[in-house]
């Protein structure tokens, strides 16, 4: 593949632009200390570290147990209406964890449905969810589908070929599971678990509502309550070290040993007691999806819809669509040099998904503060900070990884032969991209676009920290109502958000199925 020199230059420039915000973070780490930072470092930092680790361990473990169990069930057993059950059980991906937190806290409060019912039966036990185990359960419920989908696809990819071979060598089922199945599926499980981990670290809405002092909460607290951006940046610096260490560890666990081999598909075993298993799945679906949605619909009858709901719905849709378009175009451009050689700077620029939204937000705050100070003389004040452009830029930084990952695997499947053939038939770089690469990558692009859209619709920390005054999206409307304890008023935007994400999710699953068939 021959790529013009100007494309190399453009990709290098774009990568540097995407990495620029983190200069503020590094700058803050080397700036002189102040009293607030001294206080945070001496008294609060160990607490943030401890709480973040604890929340991470509990939520990732719970989500992995639920998701991997479902993944095994769906990959290895046949039962009626499996396609619909799969769709039903991944719907929690459309429900943000902060919405789960809001509903659960309300249901179990003294005035909530569960609280009142327990009281009527004379059970005076008050079950509080506003603690570390509680917040971890919320994360696990909202995020287990990542582990479910990746475990299922890894198991389906390997088939039962190796397990059968091991059984034919006289090895018992338990040993087959631990020696063959688990090592083969572990990279898939860990890939799902790492997505859960990074989503947990990214969250702000849930931990803020439950008042759990973790790193992302601390960054917002330092900036919003203490008004000290430098301290927020310094906390971000420690947080990013924590995140990178986690990412490094997860990457090692995700790496398949001995490479990956596609094996022939084998017929699935029928489930022995399908009714019992489906009853359990039905109950689980009620807890994770049915009851929360019914409760939100019930809230709708209790309070009027918040003003600006339809504007927020429209704004969420257009911002998501616009950011998806930018990310896909950017990913296509940035992928071109990577097809020829390793370019660490481009890979670094697309690490955003590993970096929590609060760090990206605070880094951009630092950068725009510096740029606004420089431009004050001739532009007359703050023109970058709190602008829609900065919100969009932050979203691109955070979600570019998803576009790049989808295209990396799409290009890997495609190889270079078609692009080379097109160039040998007289097509230039951009003609090849338009006439050959994009049509062949269509499914990868659509799947990536839908996955990014689902995340963008629910996105909170970046929008909350960087948006201009009056710029409300569905997620900020929900969060504002939650903060004001006007839970019933959060129902409208929450349902709008779930509806939009669910539509994207359904289309994404259809694309995945058609991709698997092809």
């Amino acid at each position: 593949m021959i790529i013009p020199k100007r494309i190399w230059a453009v990709t290098l420039g774009l990568s540097i632009l995407l990495l620029m915000p983190f200069s503020a973070l590094i700058g803050a780490l080397f700036s002189p200390s102040n009293a607030i930072w001294d206080h945070v470092r001496e008294t609060l930092l160990p607490t943030y570290l401890f709480h973040t680790t604890l929340v991470l361990v509990i939520s990732v473990t719970l989500a992995t147990v639920i998701g991997a169990s479902l993944g095994f069930l769906f990959a290895r057993r046949a039962f009626p209406a499996k396609k619909w059950w799969r769709l039903a059980l991944i719907l929690p991906l459309a429900i943000p964890s902060y919405v789960y937190a809001m509903i659960t806290a309300d249901l179990f409060s003294i005035t909530g449905l569960v609280g009142r019912t327990l009281a009527e039966f004379g059970v005076g036990v008050s079950l509080s969810w506003m603690n570390i185990p509680g917040v971890s359960v919320m994360f696990a419920l909202a995020l287990y589908p990542y582990v479910f989908l990746l475990t299922e696809s890894t198991l389906r990819h390997h088939g039962t070929h190796y397990e059968t071979a091991a059984a034919q060598l006289g090895v018992g089922p338990l040993k087959v599971f631990f020696k063959i199945t688990l090592p083969l599926v572990l990279p898939g499980i860990m890939a799902g678990a790492s997505l859960v981990a990074f989503e947990v670290l990214n969250d702000y809405g849930t931990v803020a509502y439950f008042n759990i002092p973790v790193f992302s909460f601390a960054i917002f607290d330092a900036w919003f309550r203490l008004g000290d951006l430098t301290t927020a940046l310094r906390i971000g610096g420690y947080f990013i070290v924590f995140t990178f260490l986690l990412s490094w560890a997860m990457d090692r666990l995700k790496k398949p040993r001995g490479g990956r081999l596609e094996t022939p598909k084998a017929p699935l075993t029928k489930l022995k007691k399908p009714k019992r298993v489906m009853a359990w799945m039905g109950l689980f679906w009620l807890l994770t999806t049915g009851i929360p949605i019914l409760q939100l619909i019930h809230y709708l009858t209790l309070a009027p819809l918040p003003s600006g709901l339809f504007m927020a719905l429209f704004r969420t849709a257009w911002v998501s669509a616009f950011v998806v378009a930018i990310i896909l175009v950017l990913s296509l451009v940035l992928m071109q040099p990577l097809r020829r050689r390793r370019m660490p700077v481009i890979r670094m620029a697309s690490l955003g998904y590993v970096i929590p939204g609060s760090i990206i937000a605070v880094s951009l705050m630092g950068l725009t503060r510096d740029l606004d100070v420089i431009s004050l003389g001739f532009l007359g004040g703050s023109f970058l900070r709190y602008s829609v452009a900065i919100v969009i830029f932050a979203m691109v930084i955070r979600f570019l990884t998803l576009g790049m990952n989808a295209l990396t695997s799409g290009y890997k499947k495609m190889g270079v032969r078609y692009s080379l053939a097109a160039q040998s038939l007289g097509k230039s770089w951009h003609q090849t991209l338009r006439q050959v690469d994009i049509p062949l990558l269509r499914e990868s692009l659509i799947s990536a676009g839908l996955l990014i859209a689902i995340d963008l619709i629910k996105e909170l920390p970046l929008t909350l920290m960087l948006r201009p005054f009056g710029f409300e999206t569905l997620s900020t409307l929900v969060f504002r109502s939650m903060q004001n304890e006007e839970i019933a008023r959060a129902a409208g935007p929450a349902l709008g958000m779930i509806g939009l994400s669910a539509v994207a999710l359904i289309f994404m699953m259809k694309e995945r199925q058609s991709d698997a068939r092809n």
Partner: protein, 209 residues
């Protein structure tokens, strides 16, 4: 027409060619044979422009394509690869016309007929046999009509009978066109069947047999 002058090329510090020269005149139909891994495909890639020699020069129609460097799409050369490179999202007709300078139905129908591909025009590559796919790839190169056609093991994946039938068809088709054709193969019988001069590539040296 094509002149390779004292070219050197190394891959990851392993020299493939240290000083190789070669010349093709207009309308030549020659073949290079050699064992696997000797650098036959690399030689074609240097002419195509997907690899660049570390020293020496390549001239096409008297002009250097190395100084200044001409990208593959800027060279009057095409490559029929040993892999199936038919675009899977395009039909046989669309694949044939992909590089066509004039995209008219007359041109398409004439070539479909010449290649005996008319009944397959609306099929996708996944619905073709190995021999049919190979014919489409050749047709696509001929319709593009560059000055030089390079063929990299074009009959590798075919059985012996089909190989001979296709070689006959290729020779018939080449009679009606003016292009210079350079084929590389590990199979001496293919080289003999294709006619023209046969060169042997071994140890980075090219010698006429």
């Amino acid at each position: 027409m094509l002149e390779i002058k004292n070219c050197a090329f190394s891959y990851q510090d392993v020299p493939i060619f240290e000083d190789i020269s070669f010349q093709l005149n207009d309308g030549d139909r020659h073949t290079i044979v050699g064992p696997s891994g000797v650098g036959k495909s690399t030689f074609l890639k240097l002419i195509m422009g997907t690899l660049t020699p570390q020293s020496g020069d390549i001239l096409i129609a008297g002009k250097s394509v190395i100084h200044p460097f001409k990208a593959p799409h800027q060279r009057p050369v095409t490559l029929i690869s040993q892999e199936d490179t038919l675009f899977p999202h395009l039909t046989v007709a669309q694949n044939l016309m992909f590089g066509a300078p004039k995209k008219t139905s007359d041109v398409l129908n004439r070539w479909l007929e010449a290649l005996e591909l008319t009944p397959l025009a609306t099929r996708y590559p996944s619905e073709l046999s190995g021999g049919e796919a190979q014919r489409v790839m050749l047709g696509r190169a001929l319709i593009y009509a560059p000055a030089i056609i390079l063929m990299d093991e074009p009959f590798k994946a075919l059985d012996a009978t089909l190989k001979l039938t296709l070689i006959d068809r290729f020779k018939t088709l080449f009679k009606d066109v003016e292009q210079t054709v350079l084929t590389v193969t590990h199979d001496a019988s293919v080289a003999t069947a294709l006619g023209g001069h046969v060169y042997r590539l071994d140890d980075g040296r090219l010698e006429r047999r």
